[in-house]
């Protein structure tokens, strides 16, 4: 008699769709959750809602035209994506770019990382129910987009790099504006701690949630601040320096906890590091040409070229297979978001649905980067 009663009370797994239109999935990511009550048993990401076949489009574009497509992948670190393609092409051509270009690329790359982290910080707060942070993050990001708009000509999809250098020289106001921003943001960054980092509700919702061990981070290929919060030393800027990163001093932020709060702190500390990198370079931009002379039609020699860079989300790789034509035979992007998403199921198992939102926020997913 008792047995039958238990059977009736036994919970049954059921499925729920989160997304593709859900505010906390940051775009069109569909998660199929199998739940036991409110406890998550399995998370299955379904992607493909924003697939634009960028890799295929690259196969019939010239190398100059490929650059602007990478803007549309990880739009929050578009300059760094552009840089990756340009560095790959320059590697194939064995072209040495001027020192000035390297320094400017590094400064704008770090500004991009800052603006991406600012947006992430705002959105992270909003995902957990604090609309205030969203407005504060965007307030400070606005100053960076102004710098970009003045120098690069666009706020989001900048397309400032071309194979061999930059599209045009920096604007005369660039240095002054950047220095103003650094002094301004150094005062404002502690506000971030006051508003969110030390907030009791925020800490309760992130401390000890979504643990990812170092071994798992390595086996899932999780990179960027997400991987470094688990103790996986994976900063491409440090291990395989490109552009001007071998000239500056900065710390690789490493944490061992591997929970949501560690990932959060990792990014906040990275903002301080980015500020210090820009400070070291902004007064030392060498004089010289802003691009190396290239042919109008770039043809890479036959071969395979791989270039990786560190975007705001992790390791971004460009793998070019060239047959000696003016467009690549095959071009593969290794996007950080895709690998980071693969760890979501592992991290979210046993958590509640509200925790899943926090975990997804700290992964800092950009869906066009995952789908391409």
């Amino acid at each position: 008699m008792e047995e039958t009663v238990y059977k009736e009370l036994e919970s049954e797994e059921y499925f729920i769709n989160m997304g593709p239109q859900h505010p906390s999935t940051h775009g069109v990511l569909r998660l199929v959750l199998s739940l036991d009550g409110e406890i998550i048993r399995k998370v299955e990401p379904h992607i493909g809602y924003i697939h634009r076949s960028i890799e295929k489009m690259c196969e019939h574009d010239s190398y100059q035209q490929i650059v602007h497509l990478t803007d549309r992948m990880d739009y929050l670190s578009c300059h760094i994506n552009n840089e990756a393609v340009c560095l790959g092409v320059e590697m194939g051509l064995q072209l040495e770019v001027p020192e000035r270009v390297k320094v400017i690329r590094t400064i704008i790359g770090e500004l991009t990382r800052l603006s991406s982290h600012q947006l992430w910080w705002g959105v992270m707060g909003m995902d957990l129910g604090a609309i205030t942070t969203f407005l504060y993050g965007f307030r400070d990001r606005e100053l960076i987009t102004d710098i970009f708009e003045e120098t690069c000509g666009a706020r989001l999809t900048m397309n400032y790099n071309i194979p061999g250098g930059l599209m045009f020289d920096i604007h005369p106001n660039f240095q002054k504006r950047t220095k103003d921003f650094i002094t301004y943001f150094k005062k404002k960054l502690p506000e971030y701690d006051d508003l969110l980092s030390n907030n009791v509700i925020f800490r309760e919702r992130t401390l000890g949630i979504g643990n990812l061990s170092k071994e798992d981070a390595i086996s899932f290929g999780v990179t960027g601040p997400t991987g470094r919060a688990s103790g996986f030393s994976c900063d491409v800027r440090k291990h395989h320096p490109y552009s001007a990163y071998n000239k500056v001093e900065f710390k690789e932020i490493l944490r061992t906890e591997g929970d949501c709060y560690a990932r959060y702190q990792c990014r906040i500390d990275e903002m301080w590091e980015s500020l210090s990198i820009i400070e070291q370079l902004i007064d030392n931009i060498p004089e010289g040409p802003y691009k190396a002379p290239t042919k109008a039609v770039i043809k890479l020699p036959k071969g395979e070229f791989y270039q990786k860079v560190e975007t705001a989300r992790g390791e971004f790789g460009v793998y070019i297979i060239s047959e000696g034509q003016k467009s690549p035979y095959r071009l593969k992007f290794r996007s950080p978001g895709f690998s980071n998403l693969s760890a979501l199921n592992h991290m979210a198992q046993g958590c509640k649905i509200a925790d899943l939102v926090a975990i997804m926020s700290t992964l800092d997913l950009v869906i066009p980067d995952i789908d391409r």
Partner: protein, 158 residues
């Protein structure tokens, strides 16, 4: 005993953190001058874009309705997504048939504002304008002809 102390400590630090956060928002509430919100579209008159801002492509004309485009199609080749379409005509110059620009068709609906056409132009005939309000009621209005009716090429541009 220790757990009770910790319990009250947690409450105290929790409340303190909330007050710290409220102090930041309260500061901006009482100092409205530090808020940088722009009232668009009310500020349309004073809103000025940066000179390098990439809006739509325009073909520059001088006061005599002359442009610099030779119809060489360099921008058409440089464009990644077929936004620019150059239609040629043949004109007589000193008894020779020479290729010249007939219609400069610009499909704004396909343009990604990447700006690759501007450095590609050998005669600096086109620039990116600072306009950004591109919304229209009908899709067909986005296909534009950039050369003015009756315009011709400037003297000395080859």
């Amino acid at each position: 005993m220790k757990s009770i102390v910790n319990y009250f400590k947690e409450i105290f630090f929790g409340l303190k953190s909330l007050v710290t956060g409220l102090r930041v928002t309260g500061h901006y509430f009482t100092h409205p001058k530090e808020i940088i919100t722009q009232q668009y579209p009310e500020n349309r008159e004073t809103l000025k874009m940066f000179e390098r801002f990439r809006g739509e492509v325009v073909l520059l004309h001088n006061e005599n309705n002359e442009h610099k485009c030779t119809g060489c199609s360099a921008c058409e080749v440089a464009c990644p997504n077929g936004t620019i379409e150059i239609i040629h005509k043949r004109v007589d110059v000193d008894g020779r048939k020479v290729k010249a620009l007939d219609t400069f068709v610009y499909h704004l609906q396909m343009c990604t504002m990447c700006g690759l056409c501007i450095p590609a132009c050998p005669t600096d005939a086109i620039v990116m304008a600072n306009t950004f309000e591109h919304a229209v009621f009908d899709r067909s209005k986005l296909t534009k002809v950039l050369n003015n009716p009756g315009s011709k090429i400037m003297d000395g541009i080859k």
